[in-house]
Structures are given as structure tokens and as C-alpha cells.
């Protein structure tokens, strides 16, 4: 982040800068962000050690089961969650729905997730995220998609995975794909980065930055199908800097206990003894869905471009 321009030394306090937006995500690293639909769930998540909560109207598993158009949460519910906890609150807006995002900013949420889990509002354009003070996190399936979102102002990236399935296979695919893309750029001579940018359909400057940093210029979390402490730990070992858990907690038998176990497994992701210990006696995990049971239109990861 050291290459971001500094504000002039004599200036008044500046809000909404790239450094402040990206920096907020830096503070979440090594932590778990949990989907919640009520203030009571938000309290359970905070007590379990979540670094933030994600407010939404239905968890992805219920969106799948119930169908219909999934939208931003009711402002009363978002405000109720903001008031219930002292940790940061994120909330989801539909892809391209810049008014939902404005509303969430006005409600005081700390991060907006422009999310494929909700029904897209625009099939050509994502939100211009630079025009907001609140930072945005966006999903990605590969490096090119991650860089396109960053070029629109995303201050944090997460794998899309396949939300609401309790099946980690797509998150694994996306994490490996993003990380492989980054490693590949690092091995290219400078003159080949121009063609790489074209292949990735991403701006050259960002491609060159990733090649020199060896990482994204923003924090990379994982999301989409994480249901167990071992899932979270594996994603961390695959290069995630933190974990979003959606339906995996509040669709399980003992949410408080599972939430705490996933927090611990994320911190000690490289210690199988700790993961074994916290995985004992957690009760039923959420019921998963095999990806071959989903029709193409039931896959959320294909939403966004």
C-alpha cells in the first residue's frame, strides 16, 4: 500500500481515500466475517469472535431454497444490526444497484458487498465504487475478474465460491485460480505484461502492480461454501487472508459453537492439532448441496462480468 499517494501534509483530515478504504480490509485479516439476518445473530457472531458481520435479508441457503428476487436488507434490520454490535457491519447490495449502495452508506454500514448472491440489478455495469466514501468488497472467480473490480474501486476482493451450498469446491477453484494468476504474472518479463493484461481483460497498470507486488493490491478473502473449521483453514492455506462464512454458521446445529470454532481454526489454520480440537462436538453442519445438483442458472458465481 506504500505506493498510494499521500495526502498533502497541510491538508485537513481526508475521508474515503483508497488508503483508508483498503486499510479497513487490512484490519480484518486473519478474521472471520459472518452472515447474519437479525441483531440476535449479530450478537452471537460478535461473542464468537467475528471481526465483522454481514447483514442480509436471507442467508444464501434460504435464497436458494425460496427463490425470487433477492435484494438489499430492510433498513430497519440493517440499523438494528448496526446498533446491536460494536464490530464493523457490512451489508450486501445487488450488482450494479448504486442506489442500494447509497442507502447502505447512509445507514452507516462499514463495508458494502456488491454481491452475486443477490439478484443482479444491471447485467452490464458494476457500481462505480470510487464515487463512494464507504468501501466495497466484490467477488471474483479469477484474477482478471478481481482486477476489473479493483479498477472500478473495490477495496477488498473475495472468492465467489458457490454461496449457500455448504460445498467448498468452488471457493477452492477460485482461490487457486486467483493465486495461480498472480504467480504467473510474477514470472513474466515486463514486455509480456501488456499481452497478459489483454488476456486478463484488466487494466495494464493493475497487472503490472500485481506482477511486482506478488499479490493483489487489496486484501483477498475467501467466501462461498465454507461450512467447517477445516474448510476455513484450508482456504487460509490456499492463500486467503481471511474468511467469509455465510449459511455455514446459522444453518448448522450449534451456531455459537461452530462460529467460535471457525474463528479459532482461521487463526491456527496451519496447526492440525488445534483444528482437530475445535472441530470436536460441533453438532450437525449445514446440509450441503453437490454442485452437479445445481442447474447452470442456479449458480451464482456466473453473475457479474
Amino acid at each position: 500500500m506504500s505506493d498510494l499517494p499521500l495526502a498533502p501534509a497541510t491538508s485537513a483530515p481526508q475521508t474515503g481515500t483508497a488508503r483508508v478504504k483498503r486499510g479497513m480490509a487490512e484490519m480484518l485479516k486473519g478474521g472471520v466475517i459472518m452472515d447474519v439476518v437479525t441483531p440476535e445473530q449479530a450478537k452471537i457472531a460478535e461473542d464468537a469472535g467475528a471481526v465483522a458481520v454481514m447483514a442480509l435479508e436471507r442467508v444464501p441457503a434460504d435464497i436458494r431454497a425460496q427463490g425470487g428476487v433477492a435484494r438489499m436488507s430492510d433498513p430497519d434490520m440493517v440499523s438494528g444490526i448496526v446498533d446491536a454490535v460494536s464490530i464493523p457491519v457490512m451489508a450486501k447490495a445487488r450488482i450494479g444497484h448504486f442506489v442500494e449502495a447509497r442507502v447502505l452508506q447512509s445507514l452507516g454500514v462499514d463495508y458494502v458487498d456488491e454481491s452475486e448472491v443477490l439478484t443482479p440489478a444491471d447485467e452490464a455495469h458494476h457500481i462505480d465504487k470510487f464515487s463512494f466514501t464507504v468501501p466495497f468488497v466484490c467477488g471474483a472467480t479469477d484474477l482478471g475478474e478481481a482486477l476489473r473490480r479493483i479498477s472500478e474501486g473495490a477495496a477488498m476482493i473475495r472468492s465467489k465460491g458457490e454461496a449457500g451450498t455448504g460445498n467448498v469446491v468452488e471457493a477452492t477453484r477460485h482461490m487457486r485460480s486467483i493465486r495461480a494468476g498472480i504467480r504467473r504474472l510474477g514470472g513474466l518479463p515486463p514486455e509480456e505484461l501488456y499481452a497478459a493484461a489483454k488476456e486478463l481483460r484488466a487494466p495494464y497498470d493493475l497487472v503490472a502492480e500485481v506482477a511486482s507486488l506478488g499479490k493483489l493490491p487489496v486484501v483477498l478473502f475467501t467466501a462461498g461454501g465454507i461450512a467447517t473449521p477445516a474448510d476455513a483453514a484450508m482456504m487460509m492455506q490456499l492463500g486467503a487472508e481471511g474468511v467469509f462464512v455465510g449459511s455455514g454458521i446459522f444453518k448448522s446445529g450449534d451456531p455459537a459453537r461452530r462460529a467460535e470454532a471457525i474463528v479459532k481454526a482461521t487463526t491456527f489454520h496451519d496447526d492440525p492439532d488445534v483444528i482437530a480440537k475445535v472441530s470436536r462436538g460441533l453438532g450437525e453442519p449445514m446440509v450441503g448441496i453437490g454442485l452437479d445438483e445445481l442447474k447452470p442458472e442456479q449458480r451464482y458465481a456466473g453473475r457479474g462480468w
Binding site: 483530515p13 484490519m27 486473519g30 469472535g49 452507516g108 466514501t133 467460535e260 487463526t267
Partner: protein, 203 residues
Amino acid sequence: MTGRPTVGVLALQGDVREHLQALTGSGADAVPVRRTSELDSVDGLVIPGGESTTISKLAVAFDLLEPLRERIAAGMPAYGSCAGMILLADKVLDGVEGQRTLGGLDVTVRRNAFGRQVDSFEESIPVAGVPGGPFHAVFIRAPWVESVGSGVEVLGVVTDGEAAGRIVAVRQGALLATSFHPELGGDARLHALFVDMVRERDR
């Protein structure tokens, strides 16, 4: 001490890597600390930015809270940025119920004092003891120091805006704390000051 002191970064959650890099660039051997055995090997400790409630819960769950308190009470130099400042403070306002801190720093800190993320800001402020002009400070859902005890030196205050005059950098003996994140600003002068404090202590 001659040579490079070993400085740990509490690695339960937060922006650990940025602190490790800043410390390495400031002449220390920087190591992550998640276990008591790792704590035993360090000459000083940085408590990073992150979510203070998460870090303190994990410190309790993994039996680090008491060993950390003992080391700090025994004089180990420690530096806390943002969440780290909250953890070093003797008293916290607006914490969660039962939030535990390591303590040691005779200050009262107000958590999330500047507001929510949309209020997070960057500003250049002078910091006493850090030569070379104002320090570019990045504040993220930051705490401020509401009041200080008699042994605490105020190193920096906010100079502009609504929060002008609020205390955001303090030192008490071997303990250093800032509301802001020097590890995000690409300016390692505060890390260099802390590494010097660790060297002083071990001399």
C-alpha cells in the same frame, strides 16, 4: 544490545504482515507470535491493528492473556497500533461486555471514538520524539485516548477538524501506543523509535 533485537508481532488477527515488514526494515528480526513459546523468545512485542474484541477473545482462548500481562508488567517493551492501543490500555470505554485488555498503559481509551468507517481518515500530525516532520497518520475506526495518568507522555494529538486536540499517540516508559496505523503509511519512523526502545531496554 548490539545487533538486531527480536521483536514479535501478536499474530492472532489483524495486519500482522505490515508490522513484520516495517520492523524488519527498522533493524529488527521480526517474528509472529501466537503461542507462549514464541512470546518467550522476543525482546519486544507489537500488537497490531485489527479487531480488538477478536484479538482479546483469542488471547484468552489460547492462554496468552496472562503470559502477555506478565511480560508487560515485567517491563517488556510493547507498541500497540489502534486495536493494539486498546489492548494496552488500563481502561476501555465503549468496549463489548467483559472485554479484557492486557493493560499496563495508564490511560483510558475510547473504542471507535472517531465514528464508523465512513469517518475513517488520514491526516498529517506532528509526533514528539519522531524527527523529520509531521507523520502521515491513517485512522481506521480508530480509538482515541480520553485521559492519561501522570506518568504518560502525550506524543501526538489530532491537529485539524472536529476531533482537533484528541490524543492519538502516547508513551509510558517501555510502552508506546498510537490510534493510527504507521504500518499502512509507508513511514517506518515510529517502528524505528520502537526498535530503539527495545534496544535501550536490553542494553
